[in-house]
Symmetry: C2
Subunit: 370 residues, 2 copies
């Protein structure tokens, strides 16, 4: 291609990439050195409405798994996260922030507990594999760490359950939120979790064996026709309204989990030890200086937010919008921003200065937005 993203082997294709190309993908992003589809015909708005009513098939194989296995596996995973993983049972998915020694966020994966001594970390965009390898080498831990041949495929939307129950059996309906079970496909057992990067319900199949990718896509695709299935991808409108945060956009190593609203996933009572505990406990004692908030703001549809937009109260900048878009349902622009202490109450009036230079009236709102 001559415009946009230049392809090379370094930016990895997934077992589903050929299928999304056939389905008319209009662009990609890159996550974990891997392609993530970002748009299909006809528009993000059409996709948004569709996702809320029907079912979509998403290539999210860029959610790579860091497999940690062996006698010291649980010890290593616990060292990496402030969340108490002693509470996790086999079959649980745990959202586990990973922080550095200063409590800065390194990643925010979903941990899948496959066995007492085997875990997958389904990661956002940073090389947690190398971090885990470094920790294990440094402390001489008895673990094996690898990226297995596992490629998540998300089935999202209110009709996802009916579609998957038809294909894989009624037991799919019994899987609880953030739990996983197993289905059979072409003679293999495959992990299926009730999870996904939307608020519309759905599942993720953690396909083990990339050679089965095209078949799995086709199998779901064909059965999905009567459910009005379309190809899709994480939808920016739905994600912002829903209060789902994207590592690298709303949070980075500059941020601690408490200001991102992840306090409920952090042990702060000293009952477990982990990297960054002292720093995080100090932040908890002192109180955070800013909090993540939703913002609704006026004016015509805002442009794409690739450079953060200042959020002002009078002459003072109190935040910056890192993801923003027009919501056709709320008939307003919606965004997410860290907001300074003193200005983060719901209802606070602000001004958003978008990339087109416009000053737009807005206010702080709860997420999910309604």
């Amino acid at each position: 291609m001559t415009d946009g993203l230049h392809m090379s082997r370094r930016i990895r294709r997934t077992p589903y990439t050929s299928k999304v190309e056939q389905a008319g993908v209009r662009g990609f992003s890159v996550v974990n050195h891997t392609l993530l589809p970002k748009a299909f015909q006809p528009s993000v708005e059409e996709d948004y409405w569709h996702l809320r009513e029907h079912v979509q098939l998403w290539d999210v194989a860029c959610q790579r798994q860091v497999q940690i296995q062996g006698p010291d596996a649980a010890k290593l995973v616990q060292w990496m996260t402030p969340r108490d993983i002693n509470q996790a049972l086999v079959g649980d998915c745990f959202y586990v922030p990973i922080i550095d020694a200063d409590a800065g966020l390194i990643n925010d994966p979903v941990m899948l507990k496959l066995a007492e001594d085997k875990f997958w970390l389904s990661i956002a965009d940073s090389d947690v594999l190398l971090y885990a390898m470094g920790l294990a080498l440094g402390r001489d831990m008895d673990v094996q760490i690898c990226e297995p041949d596992v490629s998540p495929l998300a089935i999202q939307g209110p009709k996802a359950e009916a579609l998957l129950a038809k294909l894989f059996g009624e037991q799919v309906r019994d899987i609880g939120f953030f739990k996983f079970g197993w289905i059979k496909f072409k003679g293999t057992h495959q992990l299926i979790a009730r999870s996904g990067f939307s608020r519309q319900g759905g599942f993720e199949i953690y396909l083990e064996g990339g050679h089965l990718g095209a078949d799995l896509w086709d199998f779901i695709w064909h059965a999905g026709q009567t459910f009005n299935i379309t190809p899709g991808c994480p939808n920016l409108i739905e994600r912002i309204e829903g209060g789902l945060f994207s590592y690298g956009n709303e949070m980075s190593r500059e941020n601690n989990p408490l200001e991102i609203g992840l306090g409920k996933f952090c042990s702060l009572d000293g009952s477990i030890d982990y990297i960054g505990r002292q720093a995080l406990e100090k932040i908890a004692r002192d109180g955070v200086a800013r909090k993540i908030r939703g913002i609704m703001f006026d004016g015509e549809a805002c442009p794409t937010c690739s450079i953060p937009w200042p959020v002002m109260v009078g002459q003072q900048q109190v935040g910056q919008i890192t993801s923003g878009i027009w919501s056709p349902r709320l008939k307003a622009n919606v965004g997410q921003s860290l907001i300074e202490r003193g200005f983060w109450e719901f209802g606070q009036e602000v001004v958003v200065v978008t990339a087109d230079g416009q000053h737009r009236q807005g206010k702080i709102v709860k997420m999910p937005m309604s």
Copy 2:
């Protein structure tokens, strides 16, 4: 944008991105979560000829620096690489392969020795920062590790030296190959190295302070007009002909440094210790199973290589081309491939099966190709 790469804050802009956009960039890749320009008007072929004759300005700020500083800094860096860094003096740039416990390549940065206790690793596309942090935390080393606000800008081509001597003084000419010195710019001291991802000569300025980026670009740009300067980027034709390898394309954790021809950067006599030493010494004793080679092959200009192309001898696949393109100078297609033992001699005839289904006659050649 509606096609190609979808922008977001997670894919970081550089201090030069606005300038390359003004200069008419036609596409990007993503390296280290950062934009890398990949094409300018009018074509890769024009850029190639221009690079061999004149001078180009490249935004290579995606070459992020991992800064390792403190009493244990040299110890940590040495632990990460098989190259003996005891040989490095302050002012040296050392190409240092980084390998895992199985001798698989994690990255191939250039190490800049800034002081006895301060190093930069100028990295290819993987999060070496997290790896180094993990190692240091695990072994409780006394180091500080960070990504400083440093954004390399490359000035490449045969006229680079004359241009930079005019701008920053004649002492620039005294900087040896893979050495660095210092220049003054707007009251700051900036590091300049004789290095870069081409075989046409040139320098890289490791600009410290992103707010100076646009000014530095303009300063060189305006003075460069009489040298026929253009905006550019690593050129695929020149890189392949020149035998420069790209991490993630020609090598990954599946490869050891010996098969990539990096043996000269590996201590194999037991005089230093590092991660992966035993594995690497065993490979050295047993001999490698494949070696990186250049291939020239016939037919019309080959398509873009985003999925590797099989390299055949008779019915046997002996390799796969991971980067390939038409060379207007050699009037042939050129590529790079790991080739199995028994088939890697120069002159070996092969068949390359390109993505368009064509079977093309080729042969193994030396790099740089002439």
